[in-house]
Symmetry: C2
């Protein structure tokens, strides 16, 4: 039995009514064929396949875990079959380049399907997600011949992909990696080194695994500027592109982890493995950045998906579990107790989970919209503006979606009390599975630094303007709408607070190199809260035009809840930004002794 | 190898210098014999036994878990031996009644040992902790004959205790339990029913397990007023008090949980088991409340202990792990990278962990001091005042210590990045083990409701006065001390904010029965933050009189950090209290549909 129920109505409401995606798609030649029927079909079929095929694997996968034996990795029961069905349905190449067999669908659509996948099972989903990521990098930077050889089979799910970046001594700091690439002539290289934490580095789902490996040539410049990117297949191909003999790529072990246990996290040894350069020499990091915006949003969706599934279970439980009486008197006098939904603190937990999760979905779409415009828009300057917005929003999307996703899973577990701590209901697994999303694909601390130092200080604040403009345009549209008046002033104040914090950060950074790092986490959370305020107002402004429906009334109430109870966190974060680096840097070193 | 290093110096500093416990003990006849040598010996030996004997069991216990087979529970390798040694050392009866073989030591001392125990291994510690809890209830309410029979062997660790409250349909709401007690004459009762989530309900550590069971007589009043408390031994005794034949008490299963896997969480079936009344009929809940203040503080210490151990590992890692360069330029130019401790956001995580954890230790002592005065003080009115303070502080200690303990474990995991997510370093286990402490022994939502509704609204705010008085007395003492001026105004403001929120809550509660519940969680967190502010000022006021030592300088810097970066959360919580119940209660019911 599946306990995952994709929130299709909310997805369609956001996509069609709040973001008016069909209008955008119709206006861009590359997406003109994405009509309402296709969208409905994909969302409905996607909901079916994720809830019926994948969600039931989640518990089994957690119990069995990926197993390692002598270099081979076996995925849990049912994974091979489900992966095959997912591939056959064409789901893996959903966003792929149509020239090589991908379906070329816009990100605004695929984010919704990805959320469903992660909700159904994060462990399982990492295998296709890494495949899509590898395909993205190959599509953007590899030679035509590599593209022709590898992309169609990645999109078809016949082969899988893996990203080999981290080494035992080098995680965040890729500039110090030791893996070496020695030219062998004819465009091939001998790759030697050890990589760790490689998601899907080895498994039994596909006949080949295409590793994208960061390595340095013997004479490469020191640091990040000497890193190149290589394609290293697990099985080498013959001249016809058919599987030939194994490459010198060996899985040495898999990690034992807190969660995502069915995802094989591998130690990979490359022993003069044959690899092919992707992009230009020493441009490896730049090549990675192309896909990183997509991958980071994808990991954000993991946080969102886990939170949504946890929310659903918590809501169901709160309706069914009878315990104590409502403070205002029994609502369930025929039964020995009332449903716990009557208790204000249970409602607080559920509404908080819901407000962050539903705004999170809107945020994923808002980021995807920028990605789509940056990719598909016919106008150069629109593409450029959208790319700037992607640069701004990506670190926030990754970190804020996963931080709030994790917090929501913890709340969803708490609603169930002791039943949330035992394995039976799945709530504790959501917490464990969501936790990794705050860590990998660049820790959330790194996302915050990317935002504060690279994006904000690096652009002298200019990158933030695209968001400010969106808020101002919305405020202007609302000017004449009395029923929205309650939101206008608080949103103005939130925007003002963000502007002031940004100015504050820029001023501090002029004289103190540590300022951006010290402010980073709070600045990101401040920004996230203001984005959610903006999105809740957009949602409410559409919902309140549709009277007589509980669904829309609830959306307006959720916006109110967000403004009353959650947006005030923005003030806390703004205040922390203001304190500057001093409380962190000017303390006695004994503060770090234990 | 042990990776647990008890923070002895900080413990001794708080106990002797900040709280001046020796002066208090000397002033109370019952504790006059607790001299400085005894205290040192207990803390030092306690540190040895917890770090060398128990801490190494933590990982093994997590891997193996408690195992269930046909009614029997086997604890992980090493548990039986360690329990025996702990018992032989007299550690289990540390706080027990000397009349029956306990050591009668004050809580201010035993909380420090308990923190060490939980830090060393929370799973293991639950067995002696439940034993102490059962002994407390027996000592306070059972007949002399039951006391004589059971207490000495509980204190000696020869037998263990378990508390049987929860049933499948009744957790928080004990008024609806179904377990029945039928009088058999001669003071014994036949107990029949099923209890779940029974920590240590069955195990192989001791020859007997003494269950304290809540049950109702057939003719008992409905609801909580019909609950009685019974002592039900696993093995019945003969007339000489020797183990005779098994009672009708059967363990039906154990739970599979997120963490504390070596602690057996049992389903217990009582099938006309022989039980003996403790206290008076229908006074079972009142009997439980006697021990609850101790047990709830004890669970707070679990949060604290896990946080301290996680902090230590995170500190060590931050010194050793080299990654990227300091923003102000390399501090480690001979190496390829600097230790991550140079990065402001890593420092933010460590300082936050530390500021909450060390204030938490002071809070545990502050609560223990009130418990000791309530128990040992020769003056009636002092005992009464202290009991009021215990009533006020207990729910905050349980919930705030465990909420901040969990958050700290999550931060300590984050500092290690990917290495925090794999099992090797133990950081992920701390998160899983700490998580239950927010749930059991009354969820933190129930603690918050106890504080807001029962303690604050119930006393018309009077119970809070004892804390206000302490703060005001401190502020007065600091009036003449210029070096403490920086803390005085912010502490005054924090106290003022708490007073206003309390008044706000009382006003709301007059007209709205849901007000206390709606404010509860935020009110508790506001209170907790103000208590920590008060405690940091006390700590700093002692530390700053001892110049020339990095240890004391760090204490003052930690106080500054707390005021700059963490205390501002109090404003957020105060604002949430102000919003009232409306945002939670007056929303469309569709907000709870998914």
């Amino acid at each position: 039995m599946s306990d995952y129920f994709p929130p299709l109505r909310h997805m369609q409401f956001l996509l069609n009514d709040v973001f008016e995606a069909p209008e955008l798609w119709a206006a861009m030649p590359a997406t003109q064929e994405v009509g309402p029927e296709l969208v409905s079909a994909i969302l409905e079929e996607g909901a079916k396949i994720t809830s019926a095929l994948i969600a039931p694997l989640s518990r089994i996968g957690d119990e069995e875990g990926a197993r390692f034996d002598n270099g081979k990795v076996t995925t849990p029961e049912g994974f091979v079959d489900a992966y095959k069905k997912l591939a056959e349905g064409g789901w893996i190449g959903l966003g792929g380049n149509p020239e090589f067999g991908g379906q070329g669908l816009p990100k605004m659509l695929t984010v919704l399907f990805e959320e469903m996948l992660y909700a159904a099972d994060s462990s399982f989903t990492l295998y296709p997600a890494l495949t899509s990521g590898a395909a993205l990098a190959i599509n953007a930077h590899a030679s035509e011949s590599l593209k022709k050889t590898y992309l169609p089979r990645l999109y078809k799910g016949e082969w899988a992909g893996a990203m080999c970046l981290t080494e035992p001594h080098a995680g965040t700091d890729l500039g110090i990696i030791k893996t070496r690439a020695v030219p062998k002539g004819e465009g091939s290289y001998a790759i030697t080194g050890t990589k760790i934490f490689i998601t899907g580095g080895e498994h039994d789902l596909t006949k080949n695994i295409i590793h994208l490996v960061l390595a340095k040539l013997p004479d490469a410049p020191e640091g990040p500027k000497g890193i190149s990117l290589f394609l290293v297949p697990k099985i080498r191909l013959d001249e016809q592109g058919q599987l030939a003999k194994p490459n010198a790529v060996v899985c040495g072990a898999i990690e034992h982890k807190m969660g995502i246990k069915a995802s094989a996290t591998c130690v990979m040894h490359f022993e003069e493995a044959e690899g092919y350069l992707i992009g230009e020499l020493n441009q490896g990091l730049a090549c990675m950045f192309t896909m990183m915006n997509y991958e980071r949003l994808s990991i954000g969706l993991q946080g969102l998906g886990c939170a949504q599934r946890s929310l659903h279970t918590a809501m169901v439980y709160a309706h069914e579990r009878l315990q104590s009486r409502a403070a205002k008197g029994a609502v369930n006098p025929d039964q020995p107790a009332d449903p716990i939904l009557v208790h204000p603190d249970v409602r607080r937990m559920l509404l908080t989970q819901r407000a962050y999760t539903e705004a999170g979905r809107a945020f994923a779409l808002y980021t995807a919209e920028a990605l789509d415009k940056a990719h598909f828009h016919p106008d150069d300057s629109e593409r450029g503006k959208a790319a700037d917005k992607v640069a701004l929003l990506t670190p926030i999307a990754k970190a804020f979606l996963t931080d709030k996703g994790f917090d929501s899973c913890v709340l969803g577990q708490q609603v169930l009390g002791g039943h949330g701590y035992i394995r039976e209901w799945g709530q504790e697994q959501r917490v464990r599975d969501a936790r990794i999303a705050q860590i990998y694909e660049g820790t959330n601390g790194i996302q915050a630094l990317d935002l504060a130092r690279r994006k904000i200080v690096g652009s002298k604040g200019k990158l933030a303007e695209s968001f400010y403009e969106d808020v101002e345009a919305l405020l202007e549209r609302l000017d004449s709408r009395k029923e929205m008046a309650e939101f206008v002033q608080p949103l103005k104040e939130a925007l003002q607070s963000l502007r002031e914090s940004t100015a504050d950060l820029l001023a501090q950074a002029q004289s103190n190199p540590d300022a951006a790092g010290a402010a980073s986490c709070d600045y990101l959370h401040l920004f996230g809260h203001v984005i959610y305020a903006y999105l809740w107002v957009r949602i409410a402004s559409v919902a309140c035009t549709r009277p007589g429906s509980a669904f829309y009334a609830a959306q307006v109430d959720m916006a109110r809840y967000y403004f009353a109870r959650l947006l005030p966190m923005a003030s806390y974060h703004a205040r922390a930004v203001k304190t500057g680096a001093q409380p962190l840097m000017a303390v006695d070193s004994a503060c770090f002794e234990v």
